[in-house]
Structure formats: C-alpha cells, structure tokens
Amino acid sequence: MFQPDINRSENFEELFRLHYSNLCVTAYYVVGDEETAKDIVQDFFLYCWNKRNALSIANFASYASRSVRNASLNYIKKAGRIDFEPPETIVVRAEQIPDEDYQPDESKNAALWAAISRLPEQRQRIFLMSNKDELKYKDIADKLGISINTVKTQIKLAYQFLRKECDWVIKILIFINFLP
C-alpha cells in the first residue's frame, strides 16, 4: 500500500496536487460555495502540514475525504468554525468504520444517478424538472397537466427514496454526532 512520508515537502506537494481538486468538490457539495470550499481544503492541508510528524496514514484519500466532508458539515452547523479530526483518532476509528464506506465523489454521483433512474418514470421526470431544470412546481404541474399537489407528493416521495438509497449523504453526519 502507498504510504507517503508527507514529512518531505516534495511528497507533500504531490499529495496536495493529487487530492486538491477532488477535495474542493467534496467540500463544495456540502457548503455550496466555491470560495468557502477552497478555504476549507486549504485549511485542511495547512492542518496536515502542521501535523505532519504525527501523520502517517495508510489511506490518505479516504482520511482526507472524510475529514474535509466532516469539516464542511461542521462548518455549516457551527457557524463557520472548521475543525479537523486529528489523524490519530482516524487511525483508531478506521477499525470501526469499514473502509468500503469510502467512495470517491464520482462514484457517489454515479450511484445517485443510478438511484434516480430507478424512480418511477413520472416521479423521475418531475424530480429532475424541479432539481435539474429548476422549474417551479406550478410550471411543472402546468406542463404535465397534473395538479400541483401531485407534483409535491411525487417530489416528496423522490426525496424519501433517494435519501434511503444514497444514505452516504447523511451517514457521515451521524458519525460526527458521536464526536465529543
């Protein structure tokens, strides 16, 4: 397994270059703002740099992705405070959280689209009209010749289904709640 010695600056740069963009996207999905996402990832790498003596992580991608996602969730929950999990605790937790839980964002998005494709045809159509084409419920109802209440019901059912299918959207948040 690749175990970078991030104590050496050229290795650190390599890690940064390898993961920077992906981590920004991970943060962006949660905070919804490009600049904030960049700030969080920058802070994360600063944190890693300062902790580089303690940092010896077998799977940096998985640690980084979790850490940035959790920090982003914390950020929106705690009014702008960013906390990263100390790498030591991650090593301990690695036993509690199976590593299969780690999925890069592309495969999460693929899973999301797969789940969307499993929605009944009408529900899928309505959900995408609302979320992708950004149509108002009223416009969707007019376009499809159905009532606005049908639109709302279908969207609610779609949310409930997708939330169940894509449970990683909430999974890590629950894990956060156990933190002291």
Binding site: R17, G32, E35, L46, Y137, I155, D167, V169
Partner: protein, 374 residues
C-alpha cells in the same frame, strides 16, 4: 436507515425548496427538517454540477497554499448559509441574508469560462475542445478539433454509414463548425447542434438548441434544414441566424432565401426579414430588421440597440458564464446602446456600462455579478 419523518412538515420544506423562502420559516425548522433540507441542497448540487473539478484548478490552489494567506472567512449562521445556498440555486434575486466582509479586495469579472465545448460522437467517444488540436478519423470523415473550431472533412473512404454527432457549447464559449458538406455554422454560448457526420440523402438535416449562425453551401438537390423545438427552417443556399434560446424563436435572414415551417404554415423570408415564432401560443410574425444587430455575435462583437439591462445581462451571462443578480430591480429596465468589438473580458463591459450610466455599480463575487445603484 429510518429517519424521523414525523417531525418533518413536508409542505413547508417543499415550499422552501421551490424558492418560496422567508426568514421566519427558516428559523422555525425542526432538527429533522434542517437535515432534510441540507440533504436536498446536496442532492441538487450533485445533480446540477458537471465537470466541477475544473472550477478548482490545482495550480491556483497550490500557489495560494504556498503564499498561505490568512483565510478570511465570513461567518454565517447555518441558516443564513442554507438560505444563501437555496437563494443561489433558485436564482432568486434577494440577497439580504448574505453579509460579507467589507475589507475584501473587489473581485474582477475576468474568469475564463468553467466548461469547455465538446463533441459527442455517435460511438460514445467525447472530444473535448482544447488548445491542442485533435484529429479523429471516423469512417468517411476526418474531424479536426481545436479550442474554438471544428472541421469535418470528407475523406475518400468508401463507408456509407452515417453517424450522428453532437456539438455541445457551454456558457462562455463560442465554436465554429464546418460540416462535411462545406456548410459553416457558428454556435453561440449555451447551445448545441446535432448533425450527421456526413450527408448522403435527399435532405441535409440538423437540430439546433440555443443560437446558431449558418452559411449554407447551396445544393439544389439536397435542401438544408435546421430543426428547433418549435420550427424548421429550410434553406435554399444562404446565410441566416436562428435564435432558439427562449419561448420566442427568431430566424433572421442575411442573404439568400429560407423557408420557415411552423406547425401548419410555411413562410418564405426575404433578406433583412426576421421571423418570430412563440412556441407557447404559436403566434408568428415577420418584421424588417437591421440584421447586424442579430448576427454581430458571431464576429465577436457585442452589439445592443436600446436594450434593457435585464436583456443585456441575459446575453452576457451566456457569453461569459456569469450569473447576474439585481439588488435594485429598477435597474432591470435601464436602457443602453452598446457596441464593443471583441471585448477581452466581462469586466471591460461592466466598466463601460458603469461609465455610460453613471449610477450603476457592479460587484463581482465568484461567478455572480451583483447590480446596485451607486
């Protein structure tokens, strides 16, 4: 995993997601409702966003990291934050919840567009148009693609299968395309064209969304047809512009002759005439126009005549891949005349509008331009 659905007032949440937002509603959400709203926001971002990686270039990040500036972060409360996200997502124009630090240096509107144009080939392959030229041999045509131009050249292979390719031009881009019959098409930002890689039938048919300027290579035996959502334009050897971005489709004839087919009616246009068709109420109309006003875009000229700031910003957001937010709605109706050949950045245009008006200021934050009165 079960979640406590009983604590969720779906009516309220759905109204929020639909953009009917009030501060009071947001403050009174239950824990479960906040959670569901956050999930909804994340799902929406994941659905809406493609090629996000390009927005976070490594080089820029690494440079920033090496300089290690103290990160200035605006402190939001979570609910202000969630509201801000929802507002951005629903393109609403209220920004009262958004409080930013005053000490930040102003950003300039000089980002390059975040997405590149691409051709989706019939065989599933995707050619992304970038600075380095790419050549692709596909059956009876050779495709040469560079940053902003694509040429389909017929070669001598004797394969008669016709494949259908798609050119997709995102916001902030403009691409010229030469089809295998020699017809030249300029596709404007936020547009796409579906076309056969070679033509061998009685007609030459392409499908357009958005806006395109066509210079069709005349061929009596094989008329050229541009299909859009509402109309077909049949060409009899000619130069013309089709703008099908919105409810109204504008077909503007520069020279030659075209026939516009709407459901149930055929109309022949003369040079200098413009045909308007409303998709919804199916009304059509023909007017005499100054054609340069409708075709200047394909030469890279920004040209507006007595246009409202609202209609100008609609075009600029496509051309430069920025969103516009009117903090002062009155300004939407401000009228301008603009003629700027080859502006190098959006900032230049914003400065110009500012100067002409004397009372309008533009504030840029990331890819959003906020419009205020001075």
């Amino acid at each position: 995993m079960e979640h406590a659905d009983k604590n969720i007032d779906w009516d309220k949440l759905l109204a929020l997601s639909d953009g009917d937002l009030s501060g009071e509603d947001i403050m009174n959400l239950t824990e479960e409702e906040r959670e569901q709203l956050r999930v909804a926001v994340e799902l929406k971002l994941r659905i809406k966003e493609e090629q996000l990686l390009a927005r976070f270039p490594v080089e820029e990040g690494w440079k920033r990291f090496q300089n290690r500036p103290k990160v200035h972060r605006t402190i939001f409360s979570y609910w202000k934050m969630a509201a801000a996200i929802l507002l951005l997502l629903t393109s609403s124009i209220t920004v009262w919840l958004f409080t930013t630090k005053k000490t930040q240096t102003p950003q300039l509107a000089n980002y390059t567009p975040s997405h590149k144009a691409e051709i989706r080939l019939a065989n599933g392959k995707v050619l992304v148009l970038c600075d380095s030229a790419e050549t692709e041999k596909q059956g009876i045509v050779d495709i040469k693609a560079t940053n902003n131009a694509v040429v389909y050249a017929a070669n001598n292979a004797s394969n008669t299968t016709v494949r259908v390719d798609t050119l997709i031009v995102p916001r902030g881009n403009k691409v010229s395309l030469e089809l295998s019959d020699g017809t030249k098409v300029t596709l404007n930002a936020a547009s796409s064209l579906i076309f056969p890689s070679s033509f061998n039938g009685n007609t030459r048919s392409v499908t357009l969304t958005g806006e395109g300027y066509f210079e069709v290579n005349g061929n009596e035996n094989s008329p050229f047809i541009v299909q859009t959502a509402g109309i077909n334009v049949k060409v009899l050897g000619t130069a013309f512009n089709v703008n099908a971005y919105d409810q109204t489709i504008y077909t503007t004839l520069v020279n030659g002759k075209v026939q516009v087919a709407t459901p149930g009616k055929l109309t022949v246009l003369k040079p200098g005439e413009q045909h308007l068709y409303d998709i919804t109420d199916r009304k059509e109309e023909i007017t005499k126009v100054e054609t340069p006003l409708y075709t200047a875009w394909q030469e890279g000229i920004v040209y507006f005549e007595h246009s409202s700031l609202l209609s100008i910003t609609k075009v600029l957001s496509r051309d430069y891949d920025y969103d516009f937010v009117f903090n002062d709605k009155e300004l939407m109706d401000a009228q301008f005349r603009l003629e700027i050949p080859h502006p190098t950045s959006l900032q230049l245009l914003l400065d110009q509008i500012s100067r002409i008006s004397g009372n309008i200021t533009f504030t840029v934050k990331n890819r959003v331009v906020y419009i205020d009165k001075k």
